[in-house]
């Protein structure tokens, strides 16, 4: 007689398949998101590109308008603008991903400091601090720090991460509080599981899953902010779409494509990433996240 009991391996693979099917939309969206990343990063690296050397207008500029060879035209030094936009956008997205990841990790750490406390008002200090933050636009704080410090990457990433943590900390805290009213959590308390078991094994995984959606939503927002800061000249010596547009504005009569196409490119990439982020967040049922940047 054939043994109908499934082996451990096949049982595990079936469970894995079932989970993959449950999260098929998230996987598809994550793949699309990562493909956009990969396409941007495939353009090259920024190591040998210095904005101060390429965004200048020599006496005899070598720029060319948009054509078949150069879709977006070329810069005054003869560089392909489309490729330059891809490299600049890749760097911006990398910075945005780093800042939002660090910010979310900081917010999570801050929430975990209070999460094991059984008191009902354990998050009240964090929430009060968060409310004060709403009185000040984040862009203002970033501008002050970057203008004073010279606009380095470390200052940008660290300040953005702190701002993300400051504003999202209360949201994460409210997720924790809402989770505690879920029927399965109430049942777990009744059954006699300890608080640390419930927080670590039930509430934290659900919160981390939602954080993935927030991460996807944050990247285009931070990227937009970084471009704005670079446009204003607080982007230090790094290549950015904002810097390209600012340079294009200086030569608006001679080479208008330098001000037009980088913006078109940035808008398209941000639209794609924004929509993918929104759909990812919806698939993961992240819920309301205040837009603060």
């Amino acid at each position: 007689m054939k043994n109908r009991k499934q082996s451990k391996a096949s049982r595990h693979s079936l469970v894995l398949l079932a989970r993959a099917w449950e999260t098929r939309w998230v996987i598809l969206l994550a793949l699309a998101y990562l493909s956009t990343f990969a396409w941007l990063f495939a353009a090259g690296t920024v190591e040998d590109i210095r904005p101060s050397e390429i965004l200048v207008t020599p006496a005899d500029p070598a720029w060319e308008g948009p054509g078949r060879d150069h879709w977006f035209g070329t810069t005054s030094t003869g560089l392909d603008l489309f490729n330059l936009c891809r490299i600049a956008m890749a760097q911006t997205i990398a910075l945005a991903a780093l800042a939002s990841g660090l910010g979310l990790a900081l917010a999570f750490l801050a929430v975990m400091l209070f999460a094991f406390d059984p008191g009902e008002k354990r998050f009240s200090l964090m929430k009060s601090f968060g409310r004060i933050g709403t009185l000040m636009p984040c862009a203002l704080v970033l501008l002050i720090i970057l203008a004073g410090s010279g606009g380095g990457i470390a200052a940008l990433v660290a300040t953005t991460a702190i701002l993300v943590a400051w504003h999202l900390g209360p949201t994460l805290a409210s997720w924790f509080e809402d989770s505690e009213n879920r029927p399965d959590i109430v049942s777990a308390y009744i059954v006699g599981l300890s608080r640390s078991e419930i927080v670590t094994n039930r509430i934290v995984p659900a919160t981390i899953r939602k954080m993935v959606g927030v991460f996807a939503l944050l990247i285009p927002q931070i990227a937009l902010l970084e471009m704005g800061l670079s446009y204003l000249g607080f982007g230090s010596e790094r290549l950015s779409i904002g810097g390209l547009v600012a340079y294009g504005q200086q030569v608006i009569i001679e080479a208008p494509w330098l001000a037009v196409y980088p913006g078109v490119f940035a808008a398209l990439v941000l639209v794609v990433m924004g929509l993918l982020g929104w759909l990812t967040s919806r698939s993961l049922k992240t819920g309301k996240v205040r837009r603060f940047l």
Partner: protein, 285 residues
């Protein structure tokens, strides 16, 4: 009511004091600690000539800030007004159409528009007006010396549009999400079973129950609009508080940075105070 107003005013003032402390800390951290500046926040004086204002409004006293304040308030008013009007109506409409498949697509146009960098948009308008109408495209290039200053309105609208679009995209989303959340509650199913029509349930029950909460969302977009103002004003060379802030930052003029920060916090705080009073008067605390 007066007691409530006094309480909220006190809370707002305390928050403003904390914001002032945070601003001073951020300035000292940015310039003094990270930037190794020789000048510190405790060494500056408000009575010195206001250098950034001399470039923008021609006056180096604080009185020169009044036209900049008026110009920026006009933009904030236009952008926030559009946000409230369009954001609420679009959000309510999106929630009303929730039974239809693909109703989320209704929100997509604004989300797409909000992804366009605002600073780039105003530059495009400037390029277009220069090449199409053969007149200077940026805000500081034409001064109307006699007659009604229609250019001021044109410039303000150009700057307000990207900020309004950003505000609308956020406002409609939070409004529609909140209404849809309410529409998923069991009492709505009960009303359906009792034979109430969809429009009766939506307008006379769901919206009526949510009035207070929807009012509470009215000032949620102000920090975004004020933050965006800084970038868009500079891009369009519009002389307002955003341009003043950037000049102050570039010249390391700390009082200018501080005053602009407090102005922004003051507007947001005042809007929050008015919103709290309205919600309180609706009896929905």
């Amino acid at each position: 009511m007066i007691r409530f107003f006094g309480q909220r005013l006190l809370v707002m003032l305390v928050r403003l004091v904390i914001v002032a402390i945070l601003l001073v800390t951020a300035i000292e951290l940015g310039y003094g600690v990270l930037g190794n500046s020789d000048v510190h926040v405790w060494e500056v004086s408000f009575s010195d000539p206001v250098v950034p204002l001399a470039e923008l409004s021609g006056s180096s006293t604080w009185e020169g800030m009044i036209p900049l304040l008026k110009s920026s308030m006009l933009i904030v008013g236009l952008a926030w007004g559009a946000t409230v009007l369009v954001g609420y109506s679009w959000g309510i409409l999106a929630a009303r159409l929730r039974q239809f498949k693909g109703h989320h697509l209704f929100l997509v146009p604004w989300l797409v528009l909000a992804s366009i960098p605002g600073f780039w948009w105003v530059i495009q308008v400037a390029i277009y007006s220069y090449f199409k109408w053969e007149r200077p495209g940026f805000a500081n290039e034409v001064v109307v010396e006699s007659g009604p200053d229609l250019m001021q309105w044109w410039n303000a609208v150009v700057v307000a549009i990207p900020l309004g679009v950003l505000g609308i995209s956020v406002q409609m989303r939070v409004v529609s999400e909140r209404i849809r959340e309410e529409a998923g509650l069991p009492f709505v199913r009960g009303l359906h079973r009792a034979g109430y029509s969809e429009s009766e349930i939506f307008y006379k029950n769901i919206l009526r129950r949510l009035t207070g909460e929807l009012v509470r969302l009215s000032d949620a977009t102000l920090p975004l609009i004020l933050g965006g103002l800084i970038f868009v004003e500079v891009a369009f060379r519009y002389e307002g508080m955003g341009s003043f802030l950037i000049s102050s930052l570039q010249l390391s003029y700390f009082p200018g940075i501080f005053v602009t920060g407090i102005w922004m916090a003051g507007i947001i705080g005042l809007a929050a105070l008015i919103r709290e009073m309205v919600v309180h008067s609706l009896g929905d605390d």
